[in-house]
């Protein structure tokens, strides 16, 4: 009976192939969300594959913790030996797509002197923001006054989008996390190879 059920299910379910079957199953790039950067370019999240990424979430009008997140990302890159853009990219996605439009992201990058050769500030639609946060394991919540509360996390993605390391230490660099970044960069972005 079970076999018949299975057969029936296969019959029922045979059809479209998976879109990004080439990506590992635990790759966050399985998530089909578009990101728009500070220059107004929109591309699927998955186009960031190929280069290891330091990823976090923030929002532009946040004055306390978010600048510290951005600074910690900078400091982590420095501590890891300032790898060139093609070996390590930095991505911060906004919780606040309503206020963080392209112009706001561009201004934020300029104010904080972020070098856009390796830095990307990005936004996406509200529902995609929630989904992206879920994939990254970041919690956030909008307050009645428009501000956000959020957990602070820095993630390290390998070239294929696997989460290799994660830290919640903000305000200074996390030595273990820096080691993970160095190792990944040294391996050319592969977290599974030798």
């Amino acid at each position: 009976m079970k076999r018949l059920l299975l057969f029936l299910s296969v019959l029922l379910l045979a059809g479209a192939a998976h879109a990004d079957a080439s990506l590992p199953g635990d790759s966050v790039y399985r998530l089909a969300v578009p990101l728009t950067d500070q220059d107004g370019h929109t591309a699927p999240f998955a186009t960031r594959q190929g280069t290891p990424q330091l990823v976090s979430m923030f929002y532009g009008s946040c004055t306390m913790v978010c600048p510290m997140i951005i600074q910690t990302m900078q400091a982590t890159r420095r501590a890891a030996g300032e790898p060139p853009a093609e070996r390590l990219a930095l991505l911060a996605v906004s919780f606040d797509p309503a206020r963080d439009d392209v112009e706001a992201l561009r201004r934020y990058a300029a104010t904080h002197k972020l070098d856009t050769r390796w830095w990307t500030l990005a936004r996406t639609a509200p529902q995609d923001t929630r989904t992206l946060a879920a994939v990254l394991g970041v919690q956030y919540r909008q307050l009645p006054d428009g501000d956000f509360n959020h957990s602070s996390a820095l993630l390290l993605l390998d070239a294929q989008g696997r989460i290799v390391a994660r830290t919640r230490i903000i305000g200074r660099t996390d030595p273990d996390f820096v080691t993970a970044v160095r190792k990944l960069v040294a391996n050319g972005g592969s977290s599974t190879g030798p």
Binding site: L13, M64, A133, S151
Partner: protein, 249 residues
């Protein structure tokens, strides 16, 4: 049991698209949530919305998976669901009219999109679940609380009942007493109410002081649900966790 499921499967094969799910209108408004909007005492403010009258069932989810094979058990990538996703379907005991469980947040969200809907927010869910047969907010009635708590006490290894509980004032069924249900903002519930009160490295990890201040501490029944939801990862699936969908008006 198995034959019954087979019959349903065959029925699905032959019947094509299933009937549209029922959604009931809820008026919303100001609502005293256990999670104050500002972390202190502000009531939640809800726009009118529609809520599915029943949780999504095994049969409905099967029809969805059939149309969207990327959500099949053997195809879903681990980034979207853990290894126990829909594992109850491998056994003989899954009934068509039981609420579907062992679905991840991602899978629930994808299902709701297929109904041109979304997952309800916590406030929408809590507001709807506050009702009983005659009142929109029955939470102060000890009977309401006892009913919810009695359900929590039910052993989780018992077979899940099927849908079809008594409708509440809004015409919505089985909010309390059948399964836990995903909400859209499950990953927003316990985040501190004020990330601007920074006073030390330990608190930075949560961008503020540990946990959200919760109102109505006597409302233990609802707080338990908040605690459960906030402990979940979006890929988690459990035996007693299902979902229903909502639509903005």
């Amino acid at each position: 049991m198995c034959r019954r499921l087979l019959l349903v499967l065959l029925g699905l094969l032959l019947a094509g698209p299933t009937l549209a799910a029922d959604y009931a209108p809820l008026s919303g408004g100001r609502f005293a949530s256990v999670l104050p909007a500002d972390g202190k005492a502000a009531p939640a403010s809800l726009k009118p919305f529609h809520l599915r009258t029943e949780p999504v069932t095994n049969a409905e989810f099967l029809a969805f998976v059939r149309r969207h094979p990327e959500w099949r058990r053997d195809r879903v990538p681990p980034v979207f669901a853990d290894g126990r996703y829909l594992s109850q379907w491998a056994g003989p005991d899954a009934l068509p009219r039981q609420p579907v469980t062992r679905v991840s947040w991602f899978a629930a969200q994808a299902y709701c999109e297929s109904e041109h809907a979304r997952l309800p927010t916590w406030y929408e869910w809590e507001y709807a679940a506050a009702a009983d047969a005659t009142r929109a907010d029955a939470r102060s009635d000890p009977t309401w609380r006892e009913r919810v708590l009695a359900w929590y006490a039910r052993p989780s290894n018992e077979a899940l009942p099927t849908i079809g509980g008594a409708p509440d004032l809004h015409g919505v069924r089985d909010l309390n007493g059948l399964v836990w249900e995903w909400v859209d903002d499950f990953n927003a519930l316990m985040v501190s109410s004020d990330s601007r009160e920074q006073d030390g490295a330990d608190k930075l990890g949560f961008c503020g002081a540990g946990a959200l201040g919760m109102e109505q501490k006597e409302n233990y029944a609802t707080l338990m649900r908040v605690a459960m939801l906030s402990s979940l990862e979006a890929t988690d699936t459990t035996t007693n966790l299902g979902f229903r969908c909502a639509r903005s008006d």
